[in-house]
Symmetry: D2
Subunit: 363 residues, 4 copies
C-alpha cells in the first residue's frame, strides 16, 4: 500500500523492525549535485540516539548509518539513496512474556486485528525505532534546504504542565542550546523544572506527555499547494504519523478558536523591501502556501504507554491479566524528548518536497 513511503518528489521509503537485522530508508528524488557523507547522517542520528541522557530509554546502541547508494564522489547523482542501520544490542528474549498480552496503549492489538500476525520483539515495526530512518533521511533533506538557505529546528516546548518560553529569532544559537540540553529544551530554567519532573516520574514508574515545537526560517513564499496539499496539511500528516503523537497545530492553532478576527489577522507591512506581516498568528502559511514568515507549529505527544506501574489488561485469549513490564525493560518517562529530532526531520522532509514541487507552479 506504499504506506511506508512519505513525500511526492522528495520521497522516502523506510523498512525494518526494531529487533530485526536492520532498519533503513531509501530517499528517492533527491536532486543531483548535493554534497553529502555518511558522517553528515551519523551526526544527526547521534542526536536521536537512546541513552543520551538519564531520562530516555537506556538502549546503549550507537546507530551507524551505512550509505549504500546514490552518492558518487561525494555528491548525490539523482539515483535513490539507501541508508542502512544495522540493529545491535537487543535482547528479544525479554519480550517473550509480552507475546500473549494486549499491552495497554500499545499497537499489538491493532496489528493483530489487521494482519493476524505481530512481530512482538521490541514491537517490531510499531517501535519508535523506525523514526531513526526519518532522521537519516532528514539529514539529506537538510542538505537540500541548506543549499536554499532554509533553516529548521525543533525543541521541547512543554512537558506535562511545564512550558518553555522560546524566542525563535536566532536559530543557530537556539539549536546549540537545544541539543546541549538534557531534554532538548533551549530554555534553561524550564529545563530544570522538566528534569525534576522526570526524576519524580522515574520513582513513580509513570510517564508524562509533552509538546514539541518546530520552526523554519527563510522559507520562501510560495511553497505548498492550495487545496489538499496545503503545506500545513502535509505537516499535519507528517506529525500525526509519528508514534505517540495526538495533535498538531500551526501558528495560533487551537488558541485561534478563542480569538477574534480583528486580533488574529496578521497585518501586511513592508519591511526590508519585502511584504511581511507584523504578527504571525498564521504561523507562516496562508491558504496552504508559505508566506515567507517563520513557519511555526506544535505537536502533542501522549505519555509513553510503557510504564513500570502494574496495569490490568487482557491476554490474546480474552482473559483478564495483571500486566507488569518485565524487569530491565526500556522505559521513556517522556517520549516527547526523543521526538524532538524526529519532528525536526519531518519538517525538513515536508519542506524539501514542497520546494521541489513548487518548481512546476509557473512557466
Amino acid at each position: 500500500m506504499a504506506s511506508n513511503s512519505f513525500g511526492t518528489l522528495f520521497r522516502i521509503t523506510t523498512f525494518g523492525e526494531s529487533h530485526g537485522k536492520a532498519i533503513g530508508v531509501v530517499v528517492d528524488g533527491c536532486p543531483a549535485g548535493l554534497e553529502i557523507s555518511e558522517s553528515d547522517i551519523n551526526q544527526e542520528l547521534a542526536l536521536r540516539a537512546p541513552g543520551k541522557n538519564p531520562y530516555t530509554s537506556p538502549r546503549k546502541e550507537t546507530d551507524v548509518a551505512e550509505l549504500l547508494s546514490g552518492v558518487f564522489e561525494g555528491r548525490t547523482t539523482g539515483a535513490p539513496i539507501c541508508i542502512l542501520i544495522r540493529n545491535q544490542d537487543y535482547d528479544s528474549s525479554k519480550y517473550a512474556p509480552l507475546k500473549n498480552i494486549y499491552r495497554p496503549g500499545h499497537a499489538n492489538f491493532t496489528y493483530l486485528e489487521k494482519y493476524g500476525i505481530f512481530d512482538h520483539r521490541g514491537s517490531g515495526r510499531a517501535s519508535a525505532r523506525e523514526t531513526a530512518c526519518r532522521v537519516a533521511a532528514g539529514a539529506v533533506a537538510r542538505k537540500l534546504l541548506h543549499h536554499f538557505h532554509i533553516e529548521v529546528l525543533a525543541y521541547l516546548k512543554q512537558m506535562g504542565d511545564v512550558e518553555a518560553s522560546v524566542d525563535v529569532s536566532n536559530l543557530a544559537e537556539l539549536r546549540q542550546a537545544t541539543y546541549q540540553d538534557a531534554v532538548y529544551c533551549p530554555d534553561a530554567n524550564t529545563s530544570s523544572a522538566m528534569c525534576a519532573q522526570l526524576e519524580r516520574l522515574k520513582i513513580e514508574g509513570d510517564s508524562v506527555g509533552g509538546v514539541v515545537e518546530f520552526v523554519a526560517l527563510s522559507v520562501p513564499a510560495g511553497l505548498g499547494d492550495p487545496i489538499y496539499e496545503k503545506l500545513e496539511a502535509k505537516l499535519a500528516s507528517a506529525m500525526l504519523s509519528l508514534p505517540a503523537s495526538k495533535g498538531f497545530e500551526i501558528g495560533s492553532g487551537f488558541n485561534a478558536s478563542v480569538m477574534s478576527g480583528s486580533a488574529h489577522n496578521d497585518t501586511f507591512i513592508s519591511k526590508n523591501d519585502r511584504v511581511q506581516t507584523s504578527s504571525n498568528y498564521a504561523g507562516g502559511t496562508l491558504g496552504g502556501i508559505s508566506t515567507g514568515m517563520p513557519l511555526v507549529g506544535r505537536v502533542a505527544f501522549k505519555p509513553a504507554s510503557s510504564i513500570k506501574k502494574s496495569q490490568q489488561t487482557l491476554d490474546l485469549q480474552g482473559n483478564q491479566q495483571e500486566f507488569t513490564l518485565p524487569e530491565g525493560s526500556r522505559h521513556d518517562p517522556c517520549v516527547a524528548i526523543r521526538a524532538v529530532p524526529v519532528v525536526e526531520a519531518m519538517t525538513l522532509l515536508v519542506l524539501a518536497d514542497a520546494l521541489l514541487l513548487n518548481r512546476s507552479a509557473r512557466l
Copy 2:
C-alpha cells in the same frame, strides 16, 4: 501536481472557482453496485448551503448537484462519478476593489507569490466554496460506509470560549439535534450562548474561531496503516486541508501532553464478546490503526479573516492602505459553523479510502 486530489483508492479530484462557471468533483475508485441518486447528494449539500441561518454568509444560492457519470440504473458502475455544481447568484463586480489589495489573513498574497496570477473574484479557488465539492463526494463515501454500518457525524464543539458537552453514544439522535440547530451544535444550552455571541459579533463587525468535533461509530478494527498512512495522519491531513483550520487532535489530543501514562492508557476489557477499552483516550486508533472504539477528534478553526472592521494593509505596489470590506460583502462571523458538514465529509472520505485499502492487508 495532483494537488487537487485526495485519497488513494477512493480518490476525489475537485475543480472550479467561486465565481467561475461551475465547481465540481470527480470521485474515482468507488466500488460498483452502490445505490446513489442526485437527491442523496443534494440533501447533503443543503446542510452546507450558505444562507441557512442568520449567522452565516447570506449567499442565497441553492447548490444543485448534477450527477454526470458513473451511475447506471441507480447504481455505481465502478466508473468515475462526476458531480457538477453550477455557480449562480454571484456578482463579481463588488470584488473589483479587492484586486489591488493584500487582504489581511487572506490567501491572495500567497497565490500571487506562487502563481503570479490570482482569480480575485470571490477569491477564486481559494474560496471555501470548494468545500461544497467535498460534501458532495462525502455523500458518495457515506453510502459506501453505510453499507458497512459505519456512521459518521460532526458538530460544533466550541465557539470562542463557549464549549458544548456532547454524549456520542447515539449518533442518530445526535445527528438530528445537530442539523436542526442554527449553529450545528447539538447541545441546546450551549447553542443559545453561541447565538448570543454571534449577535454581539455581528454588531461589532468581528469574527470568532471555533472547534468542530467529529465522531465515527462502528468503525471496524484494522483500518489505517502503520507508518506514514496512519489513520490519524490521514485525518490530520484531511482536516488541515480545510480553509481556516489551524489545528487537529485525536482522542485526548493536546490534553495528552499534561496527562500521566497510567491515566492515559486505555484498559483492554472484554465486552459484548469483543475486545474493547474501558476509556477511549486513544480516540479510536493505536499505532495508526483503528481499534474498533469510537473514532473521535477535533479541528480548530481560526476566526474568519473577512471582517467588517477597518484594517491596515498593503496594496500590490507595497503602499500602506486602510482596508474595509465593500458594502454588501458576505461575512461569516464564525466559519466553524459551516465547516461542520465539511469536517464530516472529510471523515467520511478518509474512512472510505481506509476501508478499501484495508482489503489488501491479508491473503
Copy 3:
C-alpha cells in the same frame, strides 16, 4: 483506484460514458501563465470528431468543449482545468438488444466479470468516446510544450499491409498534409491505396488493423527517468491505454530484434554545436532519457471488433447465439484512423509531464 488518471505532475482525470450526460477531463498541475481558450481546445477536438470522412463512424455529433475552470483572463492560474463535453445525438435504444450478449472482441464480458454491472449504452465507459477527453487535455499540453518549442505529430503509418513512407524533417508541413487527408496519412499515394481498402471493407462489412506513428521534435535531452519511469515506459503505458491498441515500439522497435549491435548503435557526432547521433535507431531515448534526437515510435491497433458480418457468441446465460450488429449501428472499418489525434494527444501528455518532472533533477 485512481485508474481514470494519467500523469504525475501534469495529471489528467477523465470521466463520463458514451451515452451519459457528458464526458470531461480535469487537468491538474498545469503551470500558471499559459494562454488558452475554448477555441484552442475545440480545434483539436474537431480533428478527432466522428463523421469527418466517409470511412469513420457516422456519428454526426460536433463536440463542443466548455472550459469550466482554471483559466482567468485568458491564462491558466495553476488551478485545475475542467473541460466538459456534453453528449448529443445518441439513441441508446438501439443498444438494447446488445444488453444480453457477450459481444465478440468487446469489453462487456470483462466489465461484467469485474464490476457485475455494465452500462451497455454505446459501451458506456468502454467506448472510444473517452479519448475525446484525452484530445482536449492534449490541447492544454500542446500549449505548454509549444512554450518550450516542442512539436508533436502523429499520422497513419500503416493500414492492413499498406504502409506509408514518411519524412519527418518538417513537422509543420507534415501536419498540414496529415490533417487534410481523409485517413490522416500524409503520404498521398499510400492514402489512395488505404481508401481503396476501406471501400472494399465497407462492402464486406469487415474491418482492418493499422499502425499509427508519432514524432516529437525539439525535445530537449534529459526528459524521462532512469528506471521505472523511462520516457519510453510512459509512452508505452500511454499507448497501450488506448482502446484497441495491441502493441508499442520506439525507434527500431521489434525490428531491433533482428539487427546486430554494430548496425544498431547510433554514432555520436557533433552537429550544430550539439551532440547528436548520425542515425536514430534509438528513437530519441537512451536509458529511458531523451537524447534530443527526434522521438519516434509506433502503436499497433487491432481491427475494430464491431463488424457487420454475422458472428457466433454467447448470451449472458451462456447460450450460443448468432450475433449481428443492429441496423444503423456505427461502424469504423479502421479504428486506427481516428486514433491518430489521440496518439498525438498521449504523446503530448507524456512529454508535458516529463518536462515538469525534469525540473527537480538538479539543484
Copy 4:
C-alpha cells in the same frame, strides 16, 4: 521523483549501483501471512545470474539475497520487505578509460545531460544489474500469485531471425525446459540454432537482438482497470522499463494491424462451465481487463550496445574518438537471454498489483 518505484498496492522500490556497495529492493504492500524465505529468493536470483552459460557476461558473482525485514517466523507480516544484495567481484578500474567517452548506444550521455554527473563504474544505476532487484521482488510476487494458483513463465522466443515454436498449455514442463536450456529457449531445435548464432557473434565481436515471450495461466477474469491502468498498459510500462527493450505487444500485437476484424475477434464459447474464447488473439485482456484466457505477450530487445568491434564516437569535450571496449570487459552477445527471468519478474509484479487492486472493484 519516486521514479525508482513500480506498482501501486504491491509496490517495489529499488536502489543501488552496479559497482556500489550493494543493490536492493523494498517490497511494500505485500499482504501478511505469506510463507517466504531467503532461499526462495536466491533460487530465482540464480536463474538471472551472470556466468550461467558461455554466452552471457562472464561476471562470476553469485548473488546472495539477505532478507532484512518484513518476515517474522517465516511469514510476511504486512511490513515492508527489504532484500539486500551486496556487490562482489567488481573491478571498477577498467571502467576508468570510459569516463570521458560517450559510449555508443549507452545511457551515459543522457544521464550527464539530465544530472550533470554519472557514476561510470559499471554504468552505475544504468546497468542491467538493477534488474536483479526486480527478480528478487518477483520471487515475493510469485509466492502471492501461487497462493491464488496463478502461474507465470517467460522464455526466449526469438534471437535475430531464429524463432521458436512454443506450446504454452503446460507451464510446469515448459518452465523446466526453459531454465535447463543454455539460452532459456524451451524449443531444443531452435535453441541449437540460437547457440550457433552466438558462437558466430562471439567471433565477430558483435551482438544481436531478440524477443522474449511471457505467459500467465489461471489469471482470473477481472484484473486490470478500464482506462489508464489497463492490464496491458501496465505490462507495457513494465516491459519498456527494462534496459534495452524497444517494443511490447500483447496477443496478436503488431500482427493485428494486418488482420481483419472477422478473423481477429475471438469467439466466446462455453467450456468447462465457464466463458472462454475459441482463439486468443486478444492475448488475455479485453478493454484492459483480464478475460481468464492465457495472458500472452512479447518484448523486443535491441542488440547489446557493448560490442567488441571498434566504433566511432565523441568524448565529453566533443572530439571524435575511436572507441574500443577495454580488454576483459564483460560482453553479452544477446541481452535478451538474461532478460528472460526479468520479463517473468515484471509479469509477476504487474499481476500481484492488479490482484490486490481488484479487491476494491465491488462492494
